[in-house]
Symmetry: C2
């Protein structure tokens, strides 16, 4: 496990990160259109209404503002590939998917597409691909990003295999479910010689406010969700998310958690109980210590001798200062489903971090030990993926880590 | 059963319908903004980006261009209400829902809303409410719209109770699943003293083309779906959809069908086989006899002695000239689901017509007798509802038919 990434580590990154920012900001959008108008939100960089380019230093879906629909689909490689540790076959699949992603995000059908007209430009479509932990075991022998591995069991987890694990993930986000669903079907169909569907989860987000401006968005508890994120386009974001150097430079790691939310018992709380458990104002997302949604919480602030931000509140437990300076970049998608005839609602949670073992795991442990929200939330699925860097035209996804 | 609505009947409607059009077109959008810019598509009138007013001669969601997400939710009234035929209680529920719909479509939380911030303005939210057939049986004794009743069994149907029937329906459409899902949860929660959830189905649509212009949209076969609709804002639309006079004037009837589509076997067809079964070009939606998407098919056209539009093609079987001049106004939403561990895809089909018995039923019989598409499509759910007219500020939904 890598050493703790403290303040000193952050400062050490600045030189590289600043150079990386300009490239990263430009990489996400096709054409020469100025990005000044695209003010980054807490959950991503707003799109300009043009197709998101598949090419760049990083896979563009991570820093992009979320679409209204996000589907996450995991696949397992065929047993024969596993037995052989067949990196060549995996590379062929990556080439197939590269062609698919380049077509779909531009609004074109894939080669062999049976309904190519369902691909549409300007659907804000992004596809992010990652590789699961088995590919770094024998006989594959691929080199993982630093700190990557399976997330250890947490005491509040109630994981269901049906929503956990996987050798490959595709995170497909866009403006409508028909476009997104079509992209998922093509990716799954074209992967068939190599891999089979393991799970598929669909969620929604409100990416814009009533004036049509991109905003952070809310989960089904009504909470503004993602305010404390490092802002895409900043050095802090780059340091938090992207692997700095080595084979995986420009890549990241992804943890997908299916977090069931108990809406009926949450609804029984008073509003002040709800706000106290989070540490934020429900209406605005602002910290209970004041300021605006994007201002930092004042963890030391006291009222009548007691902390304004409660000891076990989510914002305190997840705050970098409670976690040795560690951060993640999180995105969410709300889901409602019927599982075994029972209504289930919750959040499809994505956590991106350069170092899974040194960022996600210790923060999650802090939350698992004591977080008021554990009372109303339960992880029922969990999966982790190493996310290769972006690729350039003529290259293919994962080329730098597989070739 | 009412007499056939032929050409003579259509002409007879013109005077009334023309007067109704101006009111209807203006009713759907709040404020004085000109609607000239809102060119109607085959599946609805484009919104202007302002909240859709809940008030008007008709419930506004019917003629409105579909949202990216549509949820259909059916409820059953409590047994005690049924035993008593308690119209007073039903009227109380309609008042509660009226308050809810007026708030939600304006972007406000409902009274007692536990997460009012999930309501958002400019989400293109519409809610259409209807009453199921049991309410017109004893002991309720309500007077139904002419021709309203249960759709008779069709030989190709494989109906599942899980997706069929219901005493009440709410069709909730909007820009994103979080807003739509929140509205559905509030409606279901507020109905709890009166009614319980029977089924809930969610679908998606691509309401806009790559240039952001509203267009007809496609189903999961890739077909442009809805081109032959009477165009909202025309006399033909008004004649097709709205009950002309009597208690239900300004109302309509709705048939909801869950149509399973066998994508794998459809995908095995050649493109020309697919196009022949529909009678339209797949890429453009234009009739195989030429012209543009919205041009009528030339059913008499022949090539080498054979009809260009095949005898059993969907456009011929569903065409008004094959059905004594009868028409419906259809809307669709694509769904993908896992049912009993098996992937299922299809179309949540809504058919609106003034007279269910004289429009939907005979057309559906014609299709059931012979329609190429029956090979790849199966109705697995069916429900019918009488849809009250719109209401004015200070009134409540269903007032004219219940009070």
């Amino acid at each position: 496990m890598a050493p703790t990434l403290g303040r000193r580590g952050f400062l050490g990154y600045l030189g590289t990160a600043a150079a990386g920012t300009a490239a990263g900001a430009g990489a996400g959008v096709v054409g020469a259109r100025a990005l000044d108008a695209d003010e980054p939100t807490a959950v991503g960089v707003r799109r300009t209404g043009e197709a998101v380019s598949p090419w760049g230093a990083h896979q563009p879906g991570i820093a992009a503002h979320p679409g209204a629909v996000t589907e996450l689909v995991a696949l397992d490689l065929r047993p024969a590939l596993h037995r052989a540790g067949d990196v060549e076959a995996l590379a062929r699949l990556m080439r197939v998917w590269t062609t698919d992603v380049e077509a779909l995000t531009a609004g074109r059908g894939t080669p062999g597409d049976t309904a190519p007209w369902l691909a549409t430009a300007n659907a804000d479509l992004t596809v992010t691909v990652g590789l699961g932990p088995r590919l770094f075991d024998e006989p594959w022998g691929l080199t993982p990003p630093r700190g990557f591995g399976r997330v250890p069991a947490m005491k509040h987890d109630r994981l269901d295999d049906a929503w956990s694990g996987g050798d490959l993930v595709a995170v497909v986000s866009g403006r409508d479910g028909t476009t997104v669903g079509h992209a998922v079907r093509r990716l799954v169909a074209d992967a068939a010689p190599f891999a089979a569907l393991r799970w598929r989860q669909t969620g929604s987000w409100q990416p814009h406010d009533a004036q049509g401006r991109p905003h952070t968005g809310r989960n089904l508890f009504g909470q503004v969700d993602g305010s404390a994120n490092p802002r895409p386009g900043t050095d802090l974001f780059d340091q938090t998310v992207w692997v700095k150097d080595g084979l995986w430079a420009g890549g990241t790691t992804l943890v997908v958690r299916r977090i069931r939310m108990d809406l009926p018992t949450w609804d029984e709380l008073t509003r002040s109980e709800q706000e106290r458990s989070v540490g934020r104002d429900l209406a605005t997302g602002a910290p209970l210590t004041g300021g605006g949604e994007l201002d930092d919480v004042q963890l030391g602030a006291r009222e009548e001798g007691r902390f304004v931000i409660a000891e076990k509140s989510h914002v305190r437990r997840s705050h970098p200062s409670t976690n040795g300076g560690r951060r993640i970049f999180r995105k969410g998608a709300n889901y409602e489903a019927y599982v075994d005839g029972r209504a289930e609602a919750g959040l499809l949670f994505q956590s991106y971090q350069a170092d899974l073992g040194d960022q996600f795991v210790p923060i999650q442990r802090t939350l698992d030990e004591a977080d008021e929200l554990n009372e109303w939330t339960t992880a029922v699925g969990s999966a982790e993926f190493a996310v290769p860097p972006g690729w350039r035209e003529g290259e293919w996804m994962g080329q730098s880590v597989l070739a």
